[in-house]
């Protein structure tokens, strides 16, 4: 029940955030999509032993959080839900790579360095994807996909899946509540009703889809989902993309923390 409610809450939150009107929200969706993909590619292209080089990339999500006026806690909470899976695989690194490196005066297993690199990458990639939706909204992402010539059948499918997700989640939570009230203290749905429980949901789903289809037809649906957006990419948008790409490229080529360190230690000495 809690996962159901959490998912619904999370979805509605992102839906609401996507409707804000900040500087970041006004950037063209296609530009934001390309920036995000470029950012992700740069993040994952780092060597597995390179931890310091990754750090300047934290600037991007921080910038979006601040200028997009987004709440940090709920988005980071989502990160915590996803993280255990990646930690599960990453934690094997210290076990399998025992060769030691000297850092300062302490020897540590090289595996910990690769583990740390995976953790940072996980944080950056997951946050970047969620921030894209939180500043763009699904309808405008669909618009960007259409501009990229993604077939409308797929985009339509995506939008409808998203739109009906919350409807069906509510349907499921009603069914689960009804079931659990009749089966107190029972964990999950009993084997004897596996088929009928989910089957009933499918039948309801099919019937609902039928009604949806009929009502969409009555409202003039002819295979195209019209969302009313038709924005053009402006010079400002282009500049936004260029600046980020320039920043990511510089961070990828030069190890900024090492350069800062050199300047810093140089000043001290």
């Amino acid at each position: 029940m809690s996962t159901l409610k959490n998912s619904l809450y999370h979805l509605r939150l992102l839906d609401d955030l996507g409707k804000h009107n900040s500087f970041i929200h006004k950037v063209h969706p296609l530009i934001k999509l390309i920036t995000t993909v470029f950012y992700l590619a740069v993040v994952i292209s780092f060597e597995r032993y390179d931890v310091s080089g990754l750090l300047p990339l934290i600037f991007y999500p921080m910038f979006i959080f601040l200028l997009g006026e987004l709440p940090i806690t709920p988005i980071l909470k989502r990160l915590l839900i996803v993280a255990p899976l990646i930690i599960g695989i990453g934690i094997m690194n210290p076990l399998f790579d025992n060769s030691k490196v000297l850092i300062g005066n302490i020897y540590i297993s090289r595996g910990w360095i690769t583990f740390l690199s995976i953790l940072i990458k996980c944080g950056l990639t997951v946050t970047a994807s969620i921030l894209l939706v939180a500043t763009t909204g699904i309808n405008r992402i669909a618009e960007a996909l259409r501009m990229l010539k993604v077939p409308k059948i797929f985009v339509l499918q995506l939008l409808l899946t998203y739109r009906y997700f919350s409807v069906l989640i509510e349907e499921v939570s009603i069914m689960i509540r009804a079931y659990s009230l009749r089966a107190p203290g029972q964990k999950g749905i009993h084997r004897s009703v596996w088929g009928s429980f989910t089957g009933i949901l499918i039948i309801r789903t099919f019937d609902r889809a039928q009604r949806v289809y009929q009502s969409m037809n009555l409202r003039g649906f002819r295979g195209e989902y019209i969302n009313g957006y038709n924005s053009k990419i402006t010079f400002k948008d282009f500049l936004y993309l260029m600046m980020w790409c320039f920043f990511f490229t510089i961070v990828r080529i030069y190890n900024i923390p090492l350069i800062i360190d050199r300047i810093f230690t140089g000043v001290i000495n």
Binding site: V101, I103, T161, L168, G199
Partner: protein, 348 residues
């Protein structure tokens, strides 16, 4: 079982994106031929159904724990392979964007692992084979169970291979394989049992839903071979291109620099560079940013360095100091942005 962005390399991610993109394009073409475009609402609502169904806990008898439905096989059975695959692809995109399950670059891997094996291998070759002479509850049960288990086993094998090819983890193939396959065997059995129960129920109460899908020519033998050939070509071209791209020079960016600037390293003769070089030569604390590893570990390090790129401990130390400074710098920038924003708000 979702692959995450953090665990894949750009080469693997790019190759799989291209491959899954190809299969998606093929499925879209097929779906357009088979079903009326106006009936896409059914696919959309079914996608939402799988989402919702994934959140139902099914209690597993005798274990005290509960399992979930993945839904790949169920989609293929209820909608047919092409529409099933497209529905799975859209579910995975929403999961990647909204929930951070998987990721945008790992999206191709996830669509392939969770959609291709169930819709294009397990469904036409296993489920269809068992039900070729008509359906009854027993046949549905066996067909659903076996196809779900095999579909999931192939998917998890694929995860193992993709992870290892990406080289982000240290897990040896054997260990990872032995860890993943048995877990997914158990998951596959639960998935198969639930799928079987659901399909049997639907068949009893609304047989027309299953009959409609079963009547549609699932996959003619010629088309699947075409798909596989196209896939292989895509993998060879994309994989070959990317690996050449990656191996001919240390990284793609240097390669592109070489193409555009004519040299792999930019010659920096500016004043700033000279000042930095001076600053660098004066630093005695970390000369050349290199610590020597002590004798004991040298041999071990040498061995492992043959296989993998090494960690330079000196660089790592300067990395920590510089890294902390970078974070402080980023934090300070954030603070300043926030301050400016507040002031502006006050003024307005």
């Amino acid at each position: 079982m979702h692959m995450a962005d953090a665990l894949i390399s750009p080469i693997v991610g790019g190759t799989m994106l291209a491959t899954s993109g190809g299969i998606t394009a093929y499925s879209i073409k097929k779906v357009q031929n088979v079903i009326d475009e106006k009936k896409i609402p059914l696919m959309g609502v079914m996608g939402a159904f799988v989402f919702a169904a994934q959140m139902i806990n099914f209690s597993i008898p005798g274990t005290g724990s509960s399992g979930h439905l993945g839904g790949g096989m169920l989609l293929a059975i209820l909608l047919g392979p092409h529409a099933g695959f497209l529905t799975m692809a859209s579910i995975l995109l929403i999961q990647a964007l909204f929930f951070g399950d998987g990721g945008l670059l790992a999206y191709g891997c996830n669509v392939f692992n969770l959609g291709f094996y169930t819709c294009f291998l397990a469904y036409p070759y296993i489920y269809k084979w068992f039900t070729r002479k008509g359906i009854n509850s027993k046949k549905i049960f066996v067909a659903s169970l076996i196809s779900s288990v095999i579909g999931l086993q192939l998917g998890s094998l694929s995860v193992v291979i993709e992870t290892l090819l990406s080289g982000k983890t240290e897990l040896p193939f054997g260990t990872f394989f032995l860890l993943m396959q048995p877990i997914h065997l158990a998951i596959g059995i639960v998935e198969g049992l639930v799928t079987a129960a659901v399909v049997t129920f639907i068949w009893k109460y609304r047989p027309e839903i299953l009959e409609r899908t079963a009547k549609g020519k699932a996959l003619a033998s010629t088309t699947i071979s075409k798909v596989i050939i196209a896939l292989l070509v895509a993998v060879v071209i994309v994989g070959g291109f990317f690996s050449w791209f990656a191996s001919s020079s240390p990284d793609g960016l240097e390669w592109s620099m070489e193409k555009t600037a004519g040299t792999s390293e930019l010659e920096t003769s500016s004043e700033i560079h000279e000042i930095l070089a001076n600053v660098q030569s004066r630093t005695a604390f970390l000369p050349d940013y290199d610590f020597k590893t002590n004798g004991e570990n040298e041999e071990q390090d040498m061995k492992s360095e043959d296989k993998w790129p090494s960690v330079n401990s000196g660089t790592t130390t300067s990395g920590i100091v510089g890294g902390l400074l970078t974070i402080v710098l980023i934090g300070a920038t954030g603070y300043i942005i926030n301050l400016i924003k507040r002031r502006r708000r006050k003024i307005s």
